[in-house]
Symmetry: C2
Subunit: 522 residues, 2 copies
């Protein structure tokens, strides 16, 4: 864990004003050896015996790829009504596979789809594999639905036929997002059974079928089951994000939150002709553009007074974490497809992405947005922007600063139009303790499988289910990605590299073994 | 002509720096009495004998309304392919009616529709009524196509069934725009024939069928025919705009031009996720909003340096023209549906609309424009704005000021994104001489029919064919509206008041009689 330095031992519960890393220190607690399936562990902890499992994964790799091929062939597109039957078919496929592996499996209905009451939501597939009170219980999450895909969107191959090229790139919708990782857990069970290796933990699975369409109904389900099906979980592992690059594995311990705002400016009762009214009436679009120009500057500095004061200060210790991360400015330029990065080096770039807030203006509803020319004065325009939030920005504080500032800037315009500013939705940031045994187990597993210390990363975006699991179970949540940065999730030519799938299966299995070994932390 | 004061006699050809009204003065030229059908006019000009014509219009009013009913029943929607046959049917209806009245009529093909080569453009219906070299020849323009209309758009009646309510409001698509005015000219011919009154001028008609869809092909046609079918025209009259209010007729002598611009800002190669890239890359939308906020302030002041220096200064004489115009702030508020006018009084409001430039921001292409929330960073955004131009703003001068300023403002942002600014299209402003006999004839006719001096108005918008006729024929062009400000052209429940149609027919006829009488001017 080279990225997390020994620190003074204070309680890890985060408080406003607390230094960044102090939240991750371990409180003093007695070390209690616990029984693993290898026997009682002693102070000199042994590496788990993973060779037979690893060999079996290699031996079964074609079987595992075939499992992925079958899964990709089911177009379980949650956003398209006509594919709902395929989403349900995919749930059944997972159920059958898990049952065949000896797991207890249930399909849990979520009821009708809100707003589309003719459609049943696809079920959550929950499963339990193992029920030994002397083993830790790990709850894993993934999703079996996929984004839409059409060959004509730019796919070089049929999107629902897994196609493997000479470099081992396995193309197909859902290959990396998220069927590969979901099947990784099934592969781990199968390899243990075939190799005759005892499964190191009790495994709980929560596989949903609506992730690409807003995870309808899932939050309530997780909260309800946290004291039922999920009650034994000692920690949570989610494999639904990506490595920072293509070579080095990573563990993800933080996500930014997102507060999404609308600024509505209205004036005339209907759209006006700019020839007739231009110059004689206050134009909502003019006012909106003026107000939006006061939100953020071209260097990404948020101009809302007081907002940056909410942000946890960067310490020298924290800064030192970024130097070792496997990332370069060339990586940024490659992903941008342009050299339009704001910051001069990787450290500032990654901090801007992970641990500082940002403000993006997304667009305007109600204005002319088509190609060509239209001489309209729109009667009502709604500007959309969002702020990515980080510790310790609490949503009500952010909202107050935004609302007060936007209204004050509009008042300066002396316009007779009417402005309204509102929050469309918010999602809180999340930062986990990477000193928890859940992370140290995953770190050791990554080193064992890939031979390198994994990068400890955060993500600039949000994965709302992460926070839901943390809040509902009260347990540590780890994001343990399988795919790489070039996998093109949500795009044409989505793929998962054979290496990431097969070594990733080893990673997930090894993680469970190290989980069984790690001493308790927070 | 109380609105046009006697001025020093200098040539009327407009030159930069020339005072506003001087363009309308008449150069000294010998007065040559010309033969009217009443005989040679003498210095004491007689009012034409209009009573028999007026009486006949009243007697034939039901016939004329029936003519409008038949025309409205033909859904000649030029924008919809499936209605092209109806547009052609409407051309045939006009042709048959004109022939029955004794006119020489031709349907002139315009070829295939550009971009829709499976469609023939509807023909231009040209007609000549009368061929007396001793009479003036007036070229009149109108259009026989209409905007789309569906009952469910909010129509209280069937849009293609002329429906007359108890207040004499005649509802139907095309009633006021522009079938009523076009049929007005036919009614004038019919009333003269029935009343046995000699037709006072030679009439040339140019009725097109694509006005609501960009007048495809018309400009070339007008230029080509200006030395052929239209070569005898002494002046042009267009009836395709509206009174400023509902009670008082007006003559329109000016239109603003329009320069339409795009500002394109691009950065990354594809749209980005704001969670992943927010804060680390220059965002095109941020830059665009900043640049657009520098174009115009909320009070309508254009912020582009030097632009207002191109505008012809307002003289005290010109200011005095606005006081008598029948318009109130309540009229403005009614048409806005809100009290969001910028200026405190009608004079400044009308000047802002007619004789000062304005800048409107219409919208942004490429940004998120739908309802809801999407956390995209658009890769390329194109802001659209236009400047309504007035004398003496020449398009190349305006373009240079715009381009230089936009680029300079963008440079201040120090963004690594790329900006491009370009002109999408321009259309020149137009100001005619309202002291020309074409206008004085119309003014006398309006006073004769409605009992009041007409308002001398300009329009804030553009009617491109106006300038085309002026440039192609070199003759004075008059806009002589029939409908009123409440007619809802282009909207649901379009109507033409019975009074405006019947008295408007008298106006058009009386105008031709006064045309025959007026001494030559410019």
């Amino acid at each position: 864990m080279p990225l997390l330095l020994p620190l003074r031992r204070i309680p890890s519960f985060a408080k406003p004003g607390q230094s960044f890393l102090s939240r991750f220190t371990t409180p003093p607690r007695p070390y209690v050896p616990r029984r693993s399936f290898y026997g009682y562990i002693c102070d000199t902890k042994m590496a788990p015996q993973l060779e037979p499992f690893f060999k079996q994964v290699d031996d079964s790799s074609e079987t595992f790829i075939d499992r992925l091929r079958k899964a990709v062939a089911i177009p379980s597109i949650s956003a398209q009504d006509e594919n709902r039957k395929d989403v349900v078919r995919m749930a059944q496929f997972l159920t059958d596979e898990l049952k065949a592996l000896g797991a207890e499996v249930e399909q849990r209905p979520l009821g009708k789809q809100p707003g589309k009451e003719h459609l049943e939501l696809p079920p959550v597939v929950v499963a339990r594999y193992g029920n030994d009170p002397n083993k830790r219980t790990i709850l894993v999450y993934g999703h079996y639905d996929v984004q839409p895909a059409l060959k004509e969107d730019g796919w070089a191959t049929e999107p629902f036929e897994l196609t493997i090229d000479e470099k081992g790139r396995m193309y197909g919708r859902g290959s990396t997002d998220d069927k590969g990782p979901v099947l990784g857990w099934l592969n781990v069970i199968e390899a243990h059974k075939k190799a005759g290796v005892e499964f190191p933990v009790n495994l709980l699975c929560c596989f949903e079928g609506m992730e690409e369409y807003g995870s309808e109904g899932l939050d309530d389900f997780i909260h309800a089951e946290s004291k039922k099906f999920f009650k034994d979980a000692d920690a949570v592992c989610i494999s639904d994000n990506y490595w920072l690059g293509t070579e080095k594995p990573c563990l993800t311990y933080g996500l930014r939150g997102c507060n999404y705002y609308s600024i509505s400016v209205s004036g005339p009762a209907q759209d006006l002709h700019s020839g007739v009214f231009g110059g004689s009436a206050h134009e909502p679009m003019t006012d909106l553009v003026h107000v939006m120009s006061k939100l953020v500057d071209s260097q990404g500095n948020i101009l809302i007074p007081g907002l940056m004061d909410l942000v946890e200060p960067v310490t020298e210790e924290e800064k030192s974490l970024y130097g070792n991360i496997s990332y370069t400015m060339e990586n940024l330029h490659e992903s941008l497809g342009a050299e339009t990065g704001i910051h001069p080096n990787k450290e500032r770039t990654l901090m801007a992405r992970w641990r500082f807030p940002s403000l993006s203006i997304h667009g305007i509803e109600g204005a002319f947005s088509a190609p060509g020319a239209k001489t309209v004065i729109p009667a009502k325009v709604i500007g959309k922007f969002s702020i990515r939030t980080v510790p310790n920005m609490e949503s009500p504080d952010v909202n107050k600063l935004v609302f007060d500032y936007v209204k004050a800037e509009f008042a300066k315009l002396n316009s007779k139009n009417t402005l309204d500013v509102s929050l469309q939705h918010d999602g809180k940031w999340w930062v986990a303790s990477p000193k928890h045994w859940n992370f140290s187990a995953a770190s050791k597993a990554a080193k064992q499988v890939f031979g390198v210390e994994p990068d400890m990363t955060r993500e600039g975006g949000s994965i709302p289910v992460t926070l839901t699991f943390e809040q509902a179970t009260g347990k540590n949540v780890l994001l343990l990605p399988m795919g790489s940065s070039t996998d093109a999730a949500h795009s044409a030519n989505e793929k998962l590299d054979r290496r990431n799938y097969i070594e990733g299966t080893k990673l997930l299995g090894a993680y469970l073994h190290y989980v069984a070994e790690e001493p308790a932390t927070a």
